[in-house]
Point group: C2
Chain length 435, copies 2
Amino acid sequence: MKKEILSKIENNKEVVGIIGLGYVGLPLAVNFAEAGVNTLGFDKNQKKVDMINHGDNYIGDIRDAVLRSVVIDEHFLEATTDFSRIRECDALLICVPTPLDKFRKPDMSYIENACIEIGQNMTPGTFICLESTTYPTTTENFMLPIIERESGLKVGKEFWMAYSPERVDPGNINFHTRNTPKVIGGYTPDGLEIGIKLYSKAIETLHPVSSPRVAEMVKILENTYRLINISLINELALLSGKMGINIWEVIEAAKTKPFGFQAFYPGPGIGGHCIPLDPFYLEHIAKQYDFDLSMIHTAGHINMRMPHYMYIKIATALNKHQKSVNGSKLLFLGVAYKPNINDDRESPALEIMDIVAHKGGIISYNDPHIPHVKTNKGHVYNSIELTQEAIKNADCVVLTTNHSAFDVEMVKKHAKMIVDMRNMIPEGGENVYKL
Amino acid sequence: MKKEILSKIENNKEVVGIIGLGYVGLPLAVNFAEAGVNTLGFDKNQKKVDMINHGDNYIGDIRDAVLRSVVIDEHFLEATTDFSRIRECDALLICVPTPLDKFRKPDMSYIENACIEIGQNMTPGTFICLESTTYPTTTENFMLPIIERESGLKVGKEFWMAYSPERVDPGNINFHTRNTPKVIGGYTPDGLEIGIKLYSKAIETLHPVSSPRVAEMVKILENTYRLINISLINELALLSGKMGINIWEVIEAAKTKPFGFQAFYPGPGIGGHCIPLDPFYLEHIAKQYDFDLSMIHTAGHINMRMPHYMYIKIATALNKHQKSVNGSKLLFLGVAYKPNINDDRESPALEIMDIVAHKGGIISYNDPHIPHVKTNKGHVYNSIELTQEAIKNADCVVLTTNHSAFDVEMVKKHAKMIVDMRNMIPEGGENVYKL
């Protein structure tokens, strides 16, 4: 069976199934299709599937022409909502979400459902690899029993498993799916061998490790590193504010150290799908080992409180102008969680808007990349036009995302008052209040 | 007065006084002397002063020939214990220690004494700069009042002040005092101007910032960054041990991420004069602002407990061989806090030795760079010769510092059992127990 799948891969005869067609799965599918591999994308969302099959792109990091070419001209990529077509696939790469639930516990239901669908539909001789971020031991102890139970097949003999974490950084102009080195750990040596052969078509550099759990920990380490460093700099920013120290100037100066330092920047909180969530996957499994991850716990605590501190910043600034939040008009610029992307998942801007609205503030926003939003509290807003009138009309303009599309000079010229949470106005100004 | 000092600097006529001739002050003094500046080094330690005046070097990062040359041949550098000679100096650069006391509160007595000596002996027209790591506001709120009181002179008019943190990294072969960019913040614009002119003779690149407190925060940020990241990786190493994950393999794999990651390595704890101490300076001043620095607090907590965890590792390993710590012979390899240096300040190895001795272990050690040590508990040990006999004789060999001088193969061949806290035996082995 191993020979068969390796020979298929060698001759570009394999069918690769990608489960989950979001910001991880779709670029990966396009990369395989570009390499001339027959690629089948699975997603429950009929709208996404229809868009792909019409060659319509919805992911910023994929060029429209490339998607059109592999779907419409070359027919290497097809999308479907029909999970029974898993049986057509020789390899299945799982790129489903791994969110936290309301109590910040891992929601494993997407992975579980994918495993059930795979187990019920796969044929013997299939290679299965998870890309979603999750806690170490997931592949071995969570996925494997489900797949073996549902399929009646035996790992290492009738199918193979591996874990290979995605490293997609939306909006990164230098590193894409193809040229970002990829870590992979196989459940058996054969699983690793097949995984490397297969992924080599879509990824330039593969870094094998000794087990899926090592690969799982790699991804958690990468994101935990970011979480704790952003939390540290946010905490130092708050103290610096009290001490009359410009934290941005401090960071620029620290960056001149030519060894042993990497710069992180403060902001209104941490957003996106990875950094605010992934470390808590590790915290979850650590409890099973009677282990308390105090650094992650503390960092999470700071991050959770940042939107509240940001509300205090806004209220304090308004207070200097003898205004209350209650009844003031606040214009937020940017609701994406980082610059120049259209993703508002876990965006701190939305949380701040909810707090300000709850305290009686009158909210509007502009984001050139996100025409409308729904906040956690269920408020729905539409992006307004960013005119001089709109800026003049606001009691306070809050800079929440540093999109390069924003005309900061124009905003500064017309705003009564600005709370700048992203150092978009480095030189400051009379009515500019910084983080 | 400003014109006078600037003209002296321009014509190499100034006398630079360096207060404190340790691993920061002596290299700085040598750099000024190498630039042909008359340099006077102050230290209370008669032995150090005598050594320097005889051209005898005691700092690893200085080449012996260079010290001899500037002292003996060119007479540009002289050392003294006579602080009244401060009056001969046009500039005074303070490089004294800033330790923590037993309750982890900053011990400011070295800075205070330096300021008193300066205030009582300086002449008008002197430039004063602190290099020691300390909490933000030290220059302005702690030093300045002492110097003005003792001297009767007025800052900005009769003398100038600045803060410029040292970035010395002992043992770093690429970056020395001269080629490491240096941050400097003046108390007044004149102080900054004079400071930059002066330091340019000894340092290639200067990075000016707007105030001493910004420069003070820069250094704290740099070292706090290291503290929290080492603490994080130590915590993850302990969890990984329980989960059967090789943390060193995880780190090597994470390093293949080409953006947004910097590797730190676990170990038996954090040593040296900077990383374990400096962040607590910030914690100290933060309390004055009713501010709780939870990341530093948590990191300090982990670091404090590491030697205890390391004792548990040793006890657990011995237990596998049906031995107790009590009565076992333990040979520690390396007592320096990092590889290839002769510095054992705050070294975790010494703390572990104290714990093991307290539990009845029979301690010996070898360190090619440190012939004898005194632990915190007052035990004195002499480095034994690292023979095959010595290794065979030990119930357990503990690898505490990864000096490149150690013949790890030989140790592995002859040791009954090894606890490897520094991944010196990456491939492991039957009787090798890792962090």
